[in-house]
Each structure stands twice: as C-alpha cells, then as structure tokens.
Symmetry: none
Subunit: 295 residues, 2 copies
C-alpha cells in the first residue's frame, strides 16, 4: 500500500528535519497513500491544506526529480497492492481462525462499527436533528454527565467552548457541580448524558433543572431510561458490546454529531469562532508539533 518502503521510511525518518509545511504535506501523503496515486497534485495539496508548490518541494526534499516521480512510486505500490488484494484477504481469514487476542479486539471494533451504522437509521437521524434544533435555540447549554458519562459530557462541552460561550459544564470539585444551575431559566437547555446504570446524581440534577423550567435534552440508552420522562428531546444510543463493560463509543459519536450539526447551523460564525480559538491557543503555546525542550 505504501511505496517501496524506502520512501515511506525515509519520510518518517526525515520528518523531523522538514519544515512545518513540508511536514503537513508529508503527513497527508503518509496517511492517504492512495490519493497520491489517484488524484492530481493540486488536489492532494488542497486536501492537505498546503500550497501546490509544497508538494513539489516535498518530492525534491526526498531526493526525487519531481512530483511525478513521487506519484509514480505510489502508483506502482498501488498496482502491487491491488493485485495482491485477494492474497491479503486470504491472509486475514487465515489469521482469523486463530481465535486469539486480536480476535477479541477485532470483534469489539466491528461490533462498534455496526452500532454506529445503526445510528444512521431514519429514526435516529430524526432524533439527532430534533435534539440539535432544540440545543440551537437555547441561550445557554448546561452539560451534565456523571461517572462514565463524564467523558462524553466533557467532550461536548469542550467542543462547544471552542465554538462560543454558551456552554456550561455541570461539574466541579467537592460536589459543587450543580451550583451553576442556580441561574438557569426556561430559556436554557440542559443536555444530560446518562446510560445504564444511571447515576442518581445526574437524575436529581436533571429533575431539579426541569422544575426550574429548563428544557431537557438527553443522550441515553433506552426508551425506558428514566431520562425519557424528563426530556423534550431524546437521542438513543446503544451501549452493548462484546466486553465486560458498556461502551461509550456510540454516545460519544452522537455527541460529536450534535456538535457538528450545531456548528453547521451557522458556518461563518463557526469558522470565525474557531479561528479566534486558534489564535488564542497559539498565543498561549498550548500546542506543539514536536517534543518540547526540557526547561
């Protein structure tokens, strides 16, 4: 799938010696080898969010005469890969008969994959859309998820924070998480994430919020979840998995979809907000592309 190996390895080895733009280009090439073979350089550059010239420069950096040679190598690799496809599948099947450790993993992952596909059913999509609409109309969105659901709640809140300042995460040290609801009104919405077993604390807070007139939108796992009775909108997601634990992956996926639907609602505003966040984080040196020097 990758070209003659030497090229791929060379790219990885010399990655650190590349400039930022070159790295961005190289990274895309590494992660989308088929594209290099199948689409034009300018298009690859567009996908990689890089100037066309950078692709040429990458090729030269790797010691090739030009981009065409780079493409040729990837094309050759793809030819082989395509031919050997049958063999590859066969290999996979053979390995599958071992029933080993990686079988467990593969089983789980495929199960999760199927569950995500099930979320594409019309009913789920309707619920997602309705939930997004409801969240959209809120002045503030309070986000609540305790115990295992904390991960989803926090992630939703984090993304919403990048988008603006409408989100409030109901969590805090010493059990003070619910305090932020003090000034919540009927113009606001509470997004609750809770799956079985339902954390009592989350249900209590949700009920309290509802009593204050706050609209409730929930992500939960069943039509008979206690949250359904409280909520204006419910998105259901499966949690069963071939493992000891319930899975949160579908719930997280749902959360990400909601975030994106909200972002899509006003693209210009979203883009502006994201750019603003980018600049802010850049000034703070929040991010790094290499291992920072010890200080």
């Amino acid at each position: 799938m990758q070209p003659s190996d030497s090229l791929r390895e060379q790219m990885i080895a010399q990655y650190d010696a590349m400039s930022a733009q070159l790295q961005q280009a190289a990274r895309y090439v590494l992660e989308h080898p088929q594209d290099v073979a199948l689409v034009s350089m300018r298009e690859v550059a567009r996908h990689a969010a890089v100037q066309p010239a950078t692709m040429t420069r990458l090729a030269k950096f790797l010691g090739l005469p030009g981009y065409d040679e780079l493409r040729a190598q990837y094309a050759a690799a793809l030819r082989e890969g395509g031919d050997g496809f049958a063999a590859k599948v066969q290999k996979r099947v053979d390995e599958g008969s071992e029933r080993g450790v990686s079988d467990i993993a593969s089983h789980m992952l495929q199960g999760l994959s199927v569950q995500l596909e099930k979320l594409c059913e019309p009913d789920s999509l309707r619920r997602l859309e309705a939930a997004a609409d409801r969240l959209k109309s809120a002045r503030k969105v309070y986000v609540l998820g305790l115990r295992s659901s904390h991960a989803v709640a926090w992630h939703f809140h984090y993304v919403m924070t990048l988008l603006g300042e409408r989100s409030v995460h109901l969590d805090g040290p010493g059990g003070t998480g619910g305090d932020a609801l003090i000034r919540a009104t009927s113009e606001d919405v509470l997004l609750v994430i809770s799956i079985k077993p339902y954390a009592a604390g989350a249900l209590e807070l949700a009920q309290l919020a509802k009593a204050q007139g706050v609209g409730i939108v929930s992500i939960t796992d069943s039509e008979v979840s206690p949250l359904v009775a409280l909520s204006e909108q419910v998105v259901l997601c499966p949690t069963e998995s071939d493992s000891f634990f319930h899975t949160l992956t579908p719930a997280l996926a749902v959360s990400e979809v909601l975030c994106n639907l909200l972002a899509e609602f006003d693209r210009p505003k979203t883009l502006e907000a994201l750019q603003q966040a980018d600049e802010h984080l850049l000034h703070l040196n929040t991010y790094a592309t290499a291992i920072p020097r010890r200080r």
Copy 2:
C-alpha cells in the same frame, strides 16, 4: 478490481454493438483496469493503439458524461482493492451529494463506522495487542490526556478503577496533574493519549516520565506524531471526520478495546473486582433506575 461491476458488465454486454475502434479501446480497458486509474487518457490511448478521442467516445458510449467519470470509477475500484473491505462503505460516504441536515449526520456516522472497521486491520490489531501486553505488565498505569483527549484518558482511568487500583489519572486542579508522577518508576507505565494538535503539556509530562524510566504507551494519530519517538508501544487511530472538528470516537474505541483486553487477561479477577465495585456503589446509592424523589 473492476469498477462497480455494472460498468464492466455493460462493456462486455455492449461489446458487440461497438465499432471496431471502440472495441479495441474497450478491450484494452477491460484487460488493464489499473492503467485507466493510474495514467492519463492519452497514454492509455497510446497503449491501446487508438486515438485519444476514441477513449472519450467510449466513455460517452457507456452513458458517462466523459472520460473523467470513467477514470473516477476505476480509481474508486482500485481504492477498494487497495484499502480493504471497509472502503466499500467509504465510497457511499464519498458519493454523498445532498447536504440535508440528517445527511450530514448520517455522513459523519458512516465515516466513523468505516474508521472503526479500519482499526481491524492486522497492523492495528497487532499494535493493540502489544500495547495491552505492555500495560498488563505495569505495576501502576498513569493515564494522561489533556484538552480534547481528556475525555478518553478519563474514561480509560474510570474503567480501570472499576477493575482495580493500578490506575492513576494525571489530572488535577491548578495544574497539579503531573504531581502524581513523583513516585513513578521504571516498573510503571504511562498511557498518553494525544492527537493533533498535540497539547504541549502532555508532551512535556510524557518526556519527563520517560526520563524517569517510566515506560510509555501512547494512543495517537500518526506515525509522525511526536509521541512515537517517546513510546515503547503506539496505537494509531484516525481522527479525520466530515466535520469541523477532529473526531475522538476512534480513540475512545481504542481505549475501550484496551480496557477489555486487560480485563480479559484475568477473567476471574475481573469478575470479582466488578462485583466488588457493584456492591460498593450499591451501598452508596450511586445508581438509580427511576427518577429519585425530591428531598
């Protein structure tokens, strides 16, 4: 290896209805499907000993708008072959042309589903297994994930907590998260989750830990992620999605798989630990199955 089947069959079926030149072109296309995808029309024409215009005419004869569409079909077919079975769905995703609200959602979900399937490839499974092995052998597992990766880190830690007391979450108020590493030794392992853009803080802490002799296992998004250089084991997961944001869903899935592999390692102990946790939480009235009465 051949395009959507219908095209290949159509060519064979209508072969007799073609003119001599068209037949010559069609014959070459049928016998060299890869060339159609990988080289220009003129070159294909030259190899087929046919006028360039004939290739265009062949495409139109098959009811396609132009030769580009023909090439696109063959390129898509080659992608499938090269990329594996998951790519079939990807094609559906790529073809998504309408952008209704629920189309966006279903698009995203299908994309995520495909990514999870890709994690089932042998290489990924090997990495997962190796990472699980390394974590298994650790005395303590420190878990680190900042910013967006916090969700994954926390979830991993949460599940590990249910399983025993080997896990330490490197997070805390006032930037004290790293303090727990004070007593970390070479018997311990640090699990770092970080995806692009990489939080500088996470890299710093990981580097510090490594300097202390702590083994590093990481979940990250690329072969050229700065974490790779530090880590004994790396699990790669995709983060691209048809949305404004990077997706964490595959990373979370990887984390859940790791948890489960660790749990599977010693089933009796796992079951006992889970039962113990159940009892504990029951006594604390942590969970509820119905809306609790207001107090």
